[in-house]
C-alpha cells in the first residue's frame, strides 16, 4: 500500500474556510431539518434557537468574539438541566431528539473549520431521520427527501472552491440522490429485517393512540366518538360483502356489572367454535391501524387464524403482542355459520341478570315474553317494541340514571347503538334467553380507486347475539329496528340526516337519495380524499409495512425454495454490484473521439478516403497533406487551411474557441470532388 504513504496524500491542506453564506445556508438547512419536530419541543427551544443563532451570526458579521470553552460548557450544562426538568429523563425518544437538536444548536456556537460545518450537516441528517420515529406519512417522506437533497447541496457548497453556482449544486445533489436510488431501493427490499428491535424500545415510543375501549357503559358518555380517523382498511379477494353483512367483530362482552359490559375473562376458548360450509367463506386482507391493544377486527365470524394470533372469547381474534404498529392480516370469515353447543358456565354467564335494577323493565320483558310463541317471536316482539314506542336514534342522548336499562327502555328512549345493544341483550336475558353484546365496527366506505374498504373510528358499533337452540348464536342488531339507515348507509349518512332534521326509520328511498346526494364540489372533494387515501394505503402497505414477512413471501414468489437471511444477502450483494457496474459503465463511457479537433480531422480524412486517398496510420498531418497535394495539386486551397488549423490546435497550449471555429469552417469547406482526378489523369 505504498500509495497510502504517498507524500502527496494531503488531507486538509487546501480547505476553504466557510464564509457567511455558508453559515446562512447551514442555518436554513437546520431549520428545515427540525421543522417537523417543532410542535413537540419545549417552548423555550425557540428562545434558545433565536439567541444562539443570532449570536453565531453576529460572530461572523459583527466580529463578536466566539464564546470560549467555559461559556460553551456552562450553556451546555444549563440546557441539559432544563431538558431533564422538562422530560424527567434524558433517555428515550422524545428527550433524545430534543437533546440532539439542542446539541446541534450549541454546535453552531463553536463553528470554525470546515469539519465543524460538516458535522452540523451530519447532525441535521440525523435529526431528519428521527422525524420518522413520529410519523411515516407520504408527505413527510417527500418533504424530508427534499431536506436531504438540500443538506447534500450544503455539503457540496462547503466543499466546493467556486461557491457561486448554488442552483447547479442543487441539481447535482438531486441527480446524485437519483443515481443512488436504485441501490437504495434494493437495500430497502433485500436488507434482512429483524423482527422486533435490538435493544427494546423506550416506553415513550408509542403514545397518543385512540380507539375502542374494551368495556361498554351506555349512558355515561353522551357523545359518540365521531372521529374520521381510520380504524382499518380491508381488501377482498372474493366479492365485497353487502352493507348488511359488514359487521366487524372485535370483542364479545358477556359480563354485565354495575351498568358496565365487560369481557368474560374465563371464557377464553382454545379453538374455533363454529361449523360452516366452504361456500360461505370470504377471504380478505385487513390492514389495521395501531391500537396499543391486542384485538384484531374481523368480518362477521372469523374461522381461520395465522401464527401469532389466537382465539379470544366468543370467536374473536387476538394478537399475541400489543399492536404498536399497523398490522396486516389475512383472514377467512364465514358469513353463514352455526355455533356448536356452549358449556354450562358460559350459559350461566349469558343469562345473568343480577346486575339489572328496576322493576318496570323486568315487568316489560316478562309481559312481552308471555305474548310470544317462541324465542324467535320474542326477539321480533322486542324489536317491534323499539319501533313502535318512539325510540330515537340520537348521537347525543341524555344521560341515564341509576337504573340505566330501565331508564332507557321506558323513559329517555333516545340513544345510539350501545344503548340499543345493551338494553336488547338485557331484555333477552330477563326473559331467560341467553344473549350477549358484541362490539366492533359496522359498515365502511368503499374506495373505488383503491379497491378497498375504509372503516373509520366513527363506524364503531355494538350489537347483540342471541342463543337460539336450533341455530346457536344469532346476530341481532337492535339499532336497525330504530335506524335502518345506520346499517344501510353508514354513520355519516346518519349524521347528515340528523343535521338536516330528518326523522330516521321511515324515510323513503327517494327521500334518502335527495338528502344524501352530494354537491359536485363536496363529491369531488370526497373523491379526492378517497384517492389520496388509496395512495397512502399503498404507501403503508408497500413501504411502511414492508418487513421480514414480505421479504420471505417475495423470495418464495421469485421461486426460491428456501427463504432465509443468507439468500437475501447474496441477492443483495449481487444485485447492488450489478447496478453499480451498470451505472459505472454508463457514467464512464467515453465517446471514441475525445478531442473535437481530432474529430474534425477525422472527417477530413474520411472525405479524402472517399476519393481514394487513405491516410496510413504512421502518417502525420503534414506528411499526409504533402502526399495529398502530390496526388491532387488542385486541392491546395482546401487542404492547407485544414492542416494549418489542425496543427495550430494540436500544438497550442490553450485552445481558443476561435481556433476551433476556424478548423470547423475549414473542414466544412473541404469537399474534394472525384471528377478532377479523372481530368488530371486524362
Amino acid at each position: 500500500m505504498s500509495f497510502l504513504t504517498n507524500k502527496f496524500h494531503i488531507s486538509s491542506g487546501q480547505e476553504l474556510p466557510p464564509d457567511r453564506q455558508a453559515l446562512l445556508s447551514l442555518i436554513c438547512a437546520f431549520f428545515l431539518s427540525i421543522s417537523p419536530h417543532t410542535g413537540r419541543l419545549p417552548a423555550w427551544f425557540a428562545l434558545l434557537a433565536i439567541v444562539v443563532l443570532t449570536w453565531r451570526y453576529k460572530i461572523i458579521t459583527a466580529n463578536v468574539h466566539q464564546p470560549g470553552r467555559f461559556v460553551r460548557i456552562s450553556i451546555l450544562i444549563i440546557v441539559i438541566f432544563l431538558l431533564f426538568l422538562h422530560y424527567q429523563t434524558l433517555l428515550g425518544r422524545d428527550a433524545g431528539v430534543a437533546m440532539l437538536i439542542a446539541l446541534t444548536m450549541l454546535k453552531f456556537l463553536e463553528l470554525k473549520s470546515l469539519r465543524d460545518y460538516m458535522l452540523v450537516v451530519f447532525l441535521c441528517l440525523f435529526i431528519v431521520m428521527t422525524s420518522f420515529l413520529y410519523s411515516q406519512s407520504l408527505w413527510l417522506g417527500f418533504y424530508l427527501l427534499a431536506v436531504v437533497i438540500i443538506l447534500f447541496t450544503v455539503m457540496m457548497y462547503l466543499n466546493h472552491r467556486d461557491r457561486s453556482d448554488l442552483l447547479g449544486m442543487l441539481k447535482r445533489a438531486a441527480s446524485l440522490v437519483l443515481v443512488g436510488l436504485p441501490v437504495a431501493i434494493l437495500l430497502f427490499v433485500l436488507f434482512p429485517r429483524l423482527q422486533g428491535g435490538l435493544f427494546g424500545l423506550p416506553g415513550d415510543s408509542h403514545s397518543g393512540l385512540t380507539g375502542m375501549s374494551d368495556t361498554m357503559k351506555p349512558g355515561t358518555i353522551n357523545e359518540l366518538n365521531l372521529s374520521e380517523k381510520i380504524a382499518f382498511r380491508v381488501e377482498f379477494l372474493a366479492p365485497l360483502p353487502t352493507a348488511q353483512q359488514r359487521y366487524w367483530r372485535g370483542l364479545v362482552l358477556e359480563n354485565y356489572q354495575q351498568g358496565t359490559w365487560k369481557e368474560n375473562k374465563d371464557g377464553k376458548s382454545t379453538g374455533s367454535l363454529v361449523k360452516y360450509s366452504d361456500n360461505d367463506v370470504i377471504e380478505y386482507t385487513i390492514l389495521q391501524e395501531a391500537t396499543n391493544k391486542k384485538w384484531i377486527f374481523a368480518l362477521d365470524i372469523p374461522i381461520s387464524k395465522r401464527a401469532g394470533l389466537r382465539w379470544g372469547s366468543g370467536q374473536t381474534l387476538r394478537s399475541d403482542s400489543v399492536m404498536h404498529e399497523r398490522q396486516q392480516n389475512h383472514i377467512k370469515s364465514a358469513l353463514v355459520y352455526k355455533f356448536i353447543d356452549m358449556s354450562e358456565s358460559e350459559l350461566a354467564i349469558n343469562m345473568d341478570v343480577s346486575a339489572v335494577t328496576g322493576e318496570r323493565v323486568t315487568e316489560l320483558a316478562k309481559h312481552l315474553y308471555r305474548q310470544s310463541a317462541s324465542d324467535r317471536d320474542y326477539i321480533n316482539k322486542v324489536l317491534a317494541y323499539y319501533r313502535n314506542n318512539d325510540f330515537i336514534y340520537n348521537l347525543q342522548p341524555p344521560l341515564l340514571g341509576e337504573h340505566p336499562i330501565e331508564n332507557f327502555m321506558l323513559d329517555t328512549r333516545a340513544g345510539y347503538c350501545e344503548h340499543y345493544a345493551s338494553s336488547f341483550t338485557m331484555m333477552m336475558r330477563l326473559a331467560g334467553v341467553p344473549a350477549r353484546v358484541v362490539i366492533g365496527y359496522q359498515g365502511g366506505e368503499w374506495n373505488e380507486q383503491g379497491n378497498y374498504l375504509i372503516v373509520r373510528q366513527s363506524d364503531a358499533h355494538a350489537w347483540s347475539e342471541v342463543w337460539l337452540d336450533e341455530s346457536g348464536w344469532v346476530r341481532i342488531d337492535p339499532t336497525s329496528a330504530v335506524a335502518p339507515e345506520r346499517i344501510e348507509y353508514g354513520i355519516s349518512a346518519i349524521r347528515q340526516l340528523i343535521e338536516q332534521g330528518q326523522e330516521l326509520g321511515n324515510l323513503s328511498q327517494q327521500q334518502l337519495q335527495t338528502v344524501l346526494t352530494l354537491s359536485i364540489l363536496s363529491r369531488s372533494l370526497k373523491n379526492f380524499k378517497l384517492f389520496w387515501d388509496g395512495v397512502n394505503t399503498r404507501w403503508y402497505k408497500w413501504v411502511i409495512g414492508f418487513g421480514s414477512k414480505n421479504q420471505i413471501s417475495m423470495l418464495k414468489w421469485f421461486g426460491f425454495k428456501q427463504a432465509n437471511v443468507r439468500i437475501l444477502i447474496i441477492l443483495l450483494v449481487a444485485l447492488v454490484s450489478l447496478v453499480v457496474i451498470i451505472q459505472a459503465w454508463i457514467l464512464f463511457r467515453r465517446k471514441k473521439v475525445l478531442d473535437p479537433a481530432v474529430r474534425q480531422y477525422q472527417i477530413y480524412c474520411q472525405r479524402l478516403s472517399r476519393i481514394g486517398i487513405v491516410r496510413s496510420n504512421s502518417e502525420g498531418p503534414r506528411a499526409f497533406a504533402r502526399r495529398v497535394l502530390l496526388l491532387r495539386p488542385d486541392l491546395r486551397e482546401l487542404v492547407l487551411p485544414v492542416v494549418e488549423a489542425y496543427i495550430a490546435i494540436q500544438y497550442a497550449g490553450k485552445i481558443s474557441n476561435e481556433q476551433h471555429q476556424k478548423l470547423i469552417r475549414a473542414v466544412r469547406n473541404f469537399k474534394p470532388g472525384r471528377r478532377k482526378i479523372a481530368l488530371n489523369n486524362s
Binding site: 504517498n6 411515516q136 436510488l181
Partner: protein, 294 residues
C-alpha cells in the same frame, strides 16, 4: 511517457476524515432504524448510503480522462531557474469540478475545468546539480462532490527529465597556449576576424554577428560569417583545467560558452571523448550536453 492520462488504473480513492465521521453517523441511523423497525428510517439510511456510493462514481469520474503532459522545457545551467510548462487537459465533454493540482515546489491549486478545457501551468524551480533533472511529479486529486471521498492519482509515472548544464565557473583565461594572440572576451574581435560573407539569420546566431546594415535596408536579418583566418583553433582538454572534477567541468563550461559566443573554432578533449574542432552552432550544445552528463 509523453502523456499521462488518468483512468481507473492509476486512480485511488479513500474516504476523507469527514467520510469516516459520516459513516459513523450512517451506522447510528441504521441502528435506530433496526431498533425501531422503522421503514422510513431504513429507507433514509439506505438513501444516504447509496448517495455516497453514487458519489464514489462521480469522484472517480471527475478525474477520469484528465491528461497531464509537459510542454517545452529548455536546458538551463545549474544554479539557475528551470522553467517548464505543465499541461492539464480535459479531453472530454464533461465539466470537472474542484480539481486539486499538486506539483512539488509549487503552491497547490484548485480549479474547475470546463469541457475540452486545457490549462497550461508555468512552473519554475531552481536546479542545483548538473545532469538530468527529473521534472517534479504531479498529482491531481479531488474531493468532489460531497467532500466525503478523496481520489488522487499515482503521481510517479510521468517521467520527464530536463538537462541541466554545469554551472560555468568564473572567467579564467583560455588555456595558456591560446592566450598569446587572443584578446579578453568582450573586446572587439571583428577586426581580427575575416569576414567571409552573409547568410540568412538562424536561431541561435549571436546578435553580435547580425548585419544591421542589411537589416536597416529592409532585407531581413542576416548574420555575418567569419572565417578564422588567423582565428585560433582551440581544443579544451581536461588537463587544461585545474581543481577537482566539478571545478574542471565548470571551467570547461565557461570556456565553451565564451568560445561559442566569439565564434571560435573549438573542440573538446576529454578522457575517453574527443570532439573535433568546429564553429558549428551545435558545437556548444554538443559539448555542454556531454559535460552535463560527464
Amino acid at each position: 511517457m509523453e502523456e499521462y492520462c488518468l483512468s481507473r488504473k492509476n486512480l485511488y480513492m479513500l474516504p476523507t476524515r469527514h467520510g469516516f465521521i459520516f459513516s459513523i453517523v450512517l451506522l447510528a441511523m441504521l441502528l435506530v432504524a433496526v431498533n425501531y423497525n422503522n421503514s422510513l428510517a431504513y429507507l433514509m439510511s439506505f438513501t444516504l448510503f447509496s448517495t455516497v456510493l453514487a458519489s464514489m462514481l462521480y469522484t472517480q469520474r471527475n478525474l477520469d480522462g484528465l491528461c497531464i503532459s509537459y510542454g517545452d522545457c529548455r536546458p538551463v545551467f545549474a544554479g539557475k531557474t528551470l522553467t517548464y510548462t505543465l499541461i492539464l487537459s480535459n479531453r472530454t465533454k464533461r465539466d470537472r469540478f474542484d480539481i486539486g493540482i499538486e506539483i512539488k515546489g509549487e503552491q497547490s491549486r484548485r480549479r474547475d475545468f470546463s469541457a475540452y478545457e486545457s490549462l497550461n501551468i508555468e512552473c519554475s524551480t531552481t536546479v542545483k546539480e548538473r545532469g538530468w533533472y527529473p521534472l517534479p511529479p504531479v498529482q491531481v486529486n479531488t474531493r468532489f462532490p460531497l467532500g466525503l471521498l478523496f481520489s488522487w492519482c499515482k503521481p510517479a509515472e510521468l517521467e520527464r527529465k530536463s538537462l541541466v548544464y554545469p554551472a560555468p565557473a568564473e572567467w579564467q583565461d583560455f588555456p595558456a597556449r591560446y592566450t598569446g594572440n587572443s584578446a579578453k572576451p568582450g573586446q572587439s574581435r571583428s577586426n581580427n576576424d575575416d569576414f567571409s560573407g552573409l547568410r540568412q539569420f538562424r536561431n541561435g546566431d549571436s546578435p553580435q554577428h547580425i548585419d544591421w546594415k542589411t537589416y536597416a535596408r529592409g532585407k531581413g536579418l542576416h548574420s555575418k560569417e567569419f572565417h578564422g583566418g588567423d582565428m585560433p583553433q582551440m581544443i579544451f582538454s581536461w588537463d587544461d583545467a585545474h581543481g577537482d572534477k566539478e571545478q574542471r567541468i565548470s571551467l570547461l563550461t565557461r570556456w565553451i560558452i565564451e568560445a561559442g559566443a566569439q565564434g571560435i573554432r573549438f573542440g573538446l578533449d576529454m578522457p575517453g571523448y574527443k570532439l573535433e574542432p568546429s564553429n558549428d552552432e551545435r558545437q556548444v550544445t554538443k559539448c555542454l550536453n556531454f559535460l552535463a552528463l560527464y
